[in-house]
Amino acid sequence: MLAVVAEQDGYGYDVLRRLRAAGLADVGDASVYGTLRRLYRGGSLTSYVMPSDEGPHRRYYGITDHGRALLDRSRETWTNFSAALDALLQIKLEVKA
């Protein structure tokens, strides 16, 4: 979710749509909204409200430096994790020249 917001600020439904578009179809709506809130409270996201003519004002979320740091750490963790898993399953990652 941090990656989605890091790419571009978004509001709840927007973030959800981008996650779905990226292939994470099973992610629950409520989980997305709740997590956005949790990340915001944890300081990884900032938020601002954009007035809207056609409905309720939308709360947009943007990433903070703290959030970026968290994202980088998460990327590292994920890369290590998937490498370890691939090794276990004996799939070669590097193409030997």
């Binding site: 409520a30 709740g34 809207s52």
Partner: protein, 302 residues
Amino acid sequence: MSATATHPQDVAEYLERVRLALSDLPSEERDELMADVESSLLDAASDSSVPLVEQLGPPERFAGELRAAAGLAAPSGAGATAPRLARLLARVRPLAAGARDFAPAWWVLRAYVAIAAFALVTGSGWAYRAQMIPVIHSANVTALVGLAVLALSIWLGRRGFRWMLVADLALAIAVIPVAVHLVDQYRHGNAYGGTPQEIILPNTPGLAFDGRPIRNIYPYDRHGRLLQDVRLYDEAGVPLPVGATDPHGDPLRRTVRSASGRRVLNAFPIRYFEPGSRRVKHPAAAPKRHVPALRTPALRGG
């Protein structure tokens, strides 16, 4: 919005049930969550015609996932509202939200009700010419107080204090005696304010003063000068005629006519011709010897 958008009533109900399921949370946290959820759910609803309950699951489960993802504690059993009650409340609350559009009108009305109720309770008078307008102490004081109360009502309304609900309820109940009073005034047409007093008088036709018929009126201006051809009306705008019951009028009476040619019977003093002529002998005749000038300064704009 697509033509197949989910009915907004469904969305409102769904949102209300989610809100109820989160009712044990502190209001600030809950309101922020709801704000996010509301706009997102409206988008979700407008993108497809599938009812929200099918898209997202039961609102109570949605609320549970929301809390879990947000890192908030699960609700305690005691705080949960019975599902049927939850559904009922969910249907009613959106209607109340729609009524919020009329809030400014209520702010103005409740200011009036507050002052009118005060006037009723303290027995202050009501305006001479407009029985709906209460008068406290004097017209100037009432205007000042009225503006102050109105400003306060609007300011409180815009701030949206919760405890104003109690005051609103009290004022809503106070509307009843105020309305009763207004209907009362309308029906009895009381000119002097306060409770109308019904004095039983002998049925005197035409213009009368305490049961004594009046045959003529002599109006004097502030300087003590007798006025001619002054037309008189009561507080309801009804002319005060003398001689209305005479079929063709007294032949000796100087007939006063309006521009349209109609006989005017409420113009005073009524003058009479000398018998056998069409001439008023003493146009300035009057019973009073001397009417002194008034000390009170003239009203402005009179």
